[in-house]
């Protein structure tokens, strides 16, 4: 708009300048022409005067003589040049001169010197000048009209472009978000080339954008699936990043956390104080914290996070140490238990031996009893050592001797050991086995160890007058529709009506040396390794063992083993 104004002002100045100068030039040409003419007229008049046509030159009245159509000449003989006046010129000529002309006066001296012929000529404005001004006006008007038309045309065109381009912007916007290539509508007019250019630019932008997006997604994927929790905080204490694990480990809500004050997002005093300390210049801090109930043990590390610009922030990483702690606890308990179990029979043996040494050896009967006791205790010790060896073998998954055998036959000797104790305590032993032999391809020794361990446990932890059920059967492969067909299994169930155990103990019953009640072992005489061994042997044989129990109601152990050896 401003430019148009300036342009039109320039145009105005130039055209006025040109008009005025043109007019003046035409004017001067006119004047020259008139002067030439008046000189010629004066010569003619002089001849007339000389020829005496006007009579006495002194009597000559002012007389008008038309020489040419548009120029009128008046001549007057002036006696005294100083008294010249043009009053004698007729009114018509004067009015003509006043309205559209000028007056030129030319004086010619006559021969007698005393008189002066004064020629007055009225020059009308020339057609040329008038024509010039008309042309000038016409040109200007034409220019204005052209300008207005041009502006309107440009306006229309730009509106056209605007309307045409607007949807492109929208198309591009939506398609860039969707990550697809933008295709602009093909047009034939000038917008077509713009579209092509835009499309190319859009392609590059799109590619760069998609690459950036993919890189971000990769980063986010890696950070999100990291098992360690990561939190980045800038120098003002605002959250730059908090990954999924961080929120999970600290039990935070997955709120949008970007650029919010860390205190709002993480309200854990230990972590906020660590962040504060690191911000004050400490390099790296590490601290173990406990959270929640049951507690999770977390190791939190806070370190300085150098930024590209400005003060460094803080990077906090959180690691879950709960499993490590638990394993450590189990190991500690195992060592304590093993030494305790070994110590008890040893102490007894030593006590009996000391008694014998102190004189009991002389009393034959007492001595015999003592020696028997020593043997019993050393047997127990031996059992324990054997058990531990067996267990470590089972854990390693040592050489298993696969063979086909009848499970029912194999079961019988195992029952024998427990039958004595059962009858002693008045426990009813109910054995349910199929009539046909049950051929199993497995390790016979392992099978027998599993069975006898379960039986002895069942009889040991069942009060007098209880019942122990032993069931052995085969479950055919039940290939239901939609489910993966299971291999045929041999199931061994041992159920008792004994003391049972709590749910939380049930989870730990397969641990080595685990006892539901610490003081139980004395009266039952177990090693605390039986169930652990069962678990490892069953695992080695590709089977599974499930324990269910109700406190005071009894327990049930179900072992399932594959009938055929799994082809490895």
């Amino acid at each position: 708009m401003k430019r148009i104004l300036v342009l039109s002002l320039c145009w105005l100045a130039v055209s006025v300048f040109a008009g005025v100068f043109g007019a003046r030039y035409i004017h001067s040409i006119d004047t020259q022409k008139a002067e030439l003419q008046i000189e010629r007229d004066a010569v003619t008049l002089k001849q007339i005067v000389a020829s005496g046509d006007w009579g006495n030159p002194l009597d000559i009245d002012p007389k008008w003589k038309t020489i040419e159509s548009d120029l009128e000449v008046a001549a007057i003989l002036v006696q005294n040049p100083s008294q010249s006046s043009g009053t004698a010129i007729p009114q018509t000529a004067w009015s003509l001169a006043a309205s559209n002309g000028r007056r030129l006066i030319h004086s010619v001296p006559l021969e007698n010197q005393a008189q002066l012929l004064q020629v007055t000529k009225v020059i009308a404005d020339s057609v040329l000048l008038r024509g010039w001004w008309f042309a000038w006006l016409g040109l200007n008007v034409a220019a204005i009209i052209l300008a207005v038309l041009g502006v309107r045309a440009v306006r229309k065109e730009s509106l056209h472009y605007k309307l045409q381009l607007q949807p492109w912007v929208e198309i591009t916007e939506t398609q860039v978000h969707a990550g697809t290539e933008t295709l602009l509508p093909k047009t034939s007019d000038a917008t077509g080339s713009v579209a092509t250019a835009m499309q190319r630019v859009g392609k590059y932008v799109n590619r760069a954008f998609l690459e950036q997006k993919a890189a971000n997604a990769r980063g986010e994927l890696v950070l999100g699936n990291l098992r360690e929790g990561v939190l980045a905080v800038d120098a003002e204490g605002r959250v730059l990043l908090a990954n999924l694990s961080f929120c999970k480990l600290l039990n935070l809500h997955q709120e949008p956390s970007l650029l919010r004050p860390m205190l709002e997002v993480v309200r854990i005093p230990a972590i906020s104080s660590m962040v504060k300390t690191v911000m004050q210049g400490q390099k790296t801090l590490e601290q173990d914290i406990e959270l929640g109930n049951p507690p999770t043990y977390l190791t939190v590390t806070a370190s300085s996070l150098p930024m590209r610009k400005g003060k460094p922030g803080v990077l906090v990483t959180v690691r879950d140490e709960t499993m490590v702690k638990r394993v450590e606890l189990i190991r500690r308990e195992f060592v304590a238990n093993a030494s305790h179990e070994l110590k008890t029979p040893l102490a007894a043996i030593r006590a009996y031996a000391e008694s014998l040494q102190l004189g009991a050896i002389d009393n034959r009967e007492t001595a015999l009893a003592f020696v028997n006791n020593i043997i019993t205790q050393s047997d127990r010790l031996n059992n324990l050592v054997q058990g531990m060896l067996q267990l470590s073998r089972a854990e390693v998954g040592g050489a298993l001797n696969y063979q086909e055998f009848d499970a029912i036959e194999a079961l019988k000797p195992c029952l024998g050991g427990s039958e004595a104790l059962a009858s002693q305590k008045g426990i009813k032993l109910v054995v349910e086995t199929p009539d046909a032999p049950l051929i199993l391809e497995s390790d016979k020794d392992s099978f027998q160890t599993i069975a006898s361990n379960l039986f002895s446990n069942a009889t040991r932890y069942t009060d007098e007058g209880g019942t122990v059920f032993v069931r052995l059967f085969e479950r055919a492969s039940d290939a239901k529709e939609g489910e993966a067909s299971t291999e045929p299994q041999v199931i061994l169930e041992v159920e008792d009506t004994g003391v049972g155990m709590k749910q939380e103990d049930l989870e730990r019953v397969f641990e080595r040396f685990f006892r539901v009640q610490r003081d139980r072992s004395a009266d039952t005489g177990g090693t605390g390794l039986g169930l652990s061994m069962v678990k490892h042997l069953v695992q080695a044989l590709d089977g599974s063992v499930v324990a269910t129990s109700e406190l005071g109601e009894g327990s049930k152990f179900v072992v399932s083993l594959p009938v055929k050896r799994k082809a490895s």
Partner: protein
């Protein structure tokens, strides 16, 4: 720097546009609570920010105390319980300091409208947090009594109730930092649940007391702990109500039925 922030924004807009749940980064312009209101003076803003941060630290401390107290109750850990009891003095000190700061703000800046609500809400939540800390100490003190009778079975419902109360406190504070009314209302709703649990726990304790005379003292301790937990839940509801007041300017106390 400008380039940096641009790329961040870009990344954020990508995350939100495809609604990807995996992206934990979503755009939110800093803290809702500290958003400037019109004509807020710089000094008031600074004071408000300081008090707010102190309050957040206090809330973290109180949450930590509750969680520790409950853990000590579950494992009958007197060391942990005593740790909780020792922390109460710190909480008291911070509470007084925050209240002083709030009073100073009221006196010096004479805030109006939203700013006034901010300051008063902070004072109220501060007060509630202090009460919660006291009640938490009550629970922790009961642990010291309970260790006297190790055979006494603490009702499982009590643990459940403790968990519920803890999550209510956490949710109410989450509602506060996010200015999230829906969350505040859900906290108010879950109070009924805790009340119900409290009644059930007391019933179980009655049964235990009838069963065995020796269990009367530990059962009374449990009773007291249960009551404290119930009151903690009530204070969480107070915090939630304060949040609703702060956001909507409506006092919803004593009329939960119609407030929704």
């Amino acid at each position: 720097m400008s380039q940096n922030s641009f790329s961040e924004k870009l990344q954020v807009s990508v995350g939100s546009s495809n609604g990807n749940g995996a992206s934990s980064l979503n755009w939110l312009p800093t803290s809702g609570f500290l958003q400037e209101s019109q004509g807020m003076s710089l000094h008031l803003k600074q004071d408000l920010e300081e008090a707010y941060h102190r309050l957040l630290e206090l809330s973290g401390k109180v949450e930590d105390m509750i969680s520790k107290a409950i853990r000590s109750l579950a494992s009958r850990d007197t060391v942990l319980a005593n740790e909780v009891i020792a922390q109460d003095a710190v909480v008291d000190k911070v509470e007084v300091r925050i209240e002083e700061e709030c009073l100073k703000m009221l006196a010096l800046h004479q805030p109006v409208a939203a700013d006034l609500r901010r300051v008063t809400t902070m004072m109220k939540i501060n007060n509630d947090l202090e009460h919660i800390a006291d009640l938490t100490c009550n629970v922790a003190e009961r642990v010291n009594d309970l260790v006297q009778s190790p055979a006494f079975p603490i009702p499982e419902l009590l643990t459940q109730m403790a968990e519920e109360a803890t999550s209510m406190v956490r949710e109410s504070l989450n509602a506060f930092v996010n200015l999230d009314i829906d969350r505040a209302y859900s906290v108010i709703k879950s109070d009924d649940n805790v009340d119900q649990l409290n009644v059930e726990v007391i019933g179980q304790l009655h049964a235990l007391m009838n069963e065995n005379e020796n269990w009367i003292p530990p059962a009374v301790s449990c009773f007291s702990a249960s009551r404290s937990l119930e009151q903690i839940a009530d204070h969480a509801v107070n915090v939630a109500e304060d949040v609703i007041y702060m956001v909507n300017g409506v006092i919803v106390r004593h009329r939960h039925g119609q407030a929704e």
